[in-house]
Symmetry: C2
Subunit: 165 residues, 2 copies
DNA sequence: TGATTTTTTGATATGTTGTTTCATTTCATC
DNA sequence: GATGAAATGAAACAACATATCAAAAAATCA
């Protein structure tokens, strides 16, 4: 089971998370012959500023502090679209928000655990769960192409009385 | 496995679907000492006009033809909120749209199969799937409270070359 | 019944999220 | 440095959702 639930919910050196995410993004862009432009890089960096899903207009607000000049919504959405296509981020439909993918490139399907208390979201890719989802679809005669699984509840830290990461 | 995938995707007497849904709504409102007012009833009826998720502003547009007089967005959202609370409809986050629940009252969790071709959505409640989701959460130390599972792909009718229901 | 309280609806405005369109700039390639 | 493709700027707009306060309707009860 691939998961980033430890780092998402517990204290950790988050600078390394960010650095690793940007580094993976460089690799992936190189492999895809795509350009990680300053805007795209800044958007990715903002999304990775913590483990909470970030809305597009929050990015619009915060971009000047990273880029220097104001960036309008369409540019932000273009960067988001680019990052989505490369699998570097995911969209959480129930929140209209975006979150960094901790393991881009690996074949996995979107399963998120979103903590109602601290707002952090962890992603996991559980083979068994995906298999059961596939089987269930199959039995219903449904040809599964993609999936979004959003689980809401309390993360380990918040459940145990902590205040989250 | 509770599911309405047959009626959602295949030819059937849909008038009976609507009548049954309204009848269940009456029951459920009576049990909850809540009022199924004309607006709420009309909104539910519109959502049940077929098995495709319906957006709030489509409801706003269509309501006059059911109610007679125009109804603004806030009233529609109030009706939607009411129906959601009673479990008579569900919200599909990825589409900003609403769909009737085929088995309100039964303890079940939201799993939807949305056909990318015909747009119809079937709901199912698969014990095994829910159990695996619960186990997966547990293993990650996550206290699961609610879930939304949206599966996208091709329904049986569209997969077999048909045009859907 | 009539007064009181609660629930529901009306109406206006506004907030939030996402897209269209077209012009301009930047970049890679030749 | 000319050319075509990719990326960005800028303004307007479209779609989805909520805040607020007033009015009406319904339930409750003296």
């Amino acid at each position: 089971m691939l998961s980033n639930s430890r780092s998402a919910y517990q204290h950790h050196d988050h600078q390394r998370c960010i650095a690793a995410a940007l580094s993976r993004a460089e690799e992936r862009c190189a492999a895809a012959r795509a350009r990680l432009t300053p805007i795209r890089r800044a958007v990715l960096q903002l999304i990775w500023q913590n483990h909470r899903p970030l809305g597009a207009y929050s990015i619009v607000e915060q971009l000047p502090s990273v880029i220097g000049s104001p960036i309008r919504a369409p540019s932000v959405y273009r960067a988001i679209e680019f990052l989505l296509e490369l699998g570097l981020i995911h969209r959480l439909p129930s929140r209209n928000a975006f979150i960094g993918c901790p393991f881009p490139g690996s074949e996995h399907s979107d399963v998120f655990m979103v903590c109602r208390h601290c707002g952090s979201a962890a992603e996991l890719s559980a083979d068994h769960l995906n298999q059961v989802i596939a089987e269930t679809s199959e039995r219903a005669g449904f040809r599964l192409e993609s999936q979004t699984v959003e689980l809401s509840g309390l993360c380990a830290s918040c459940r145990d009385g902590g205040g989250g990461p």
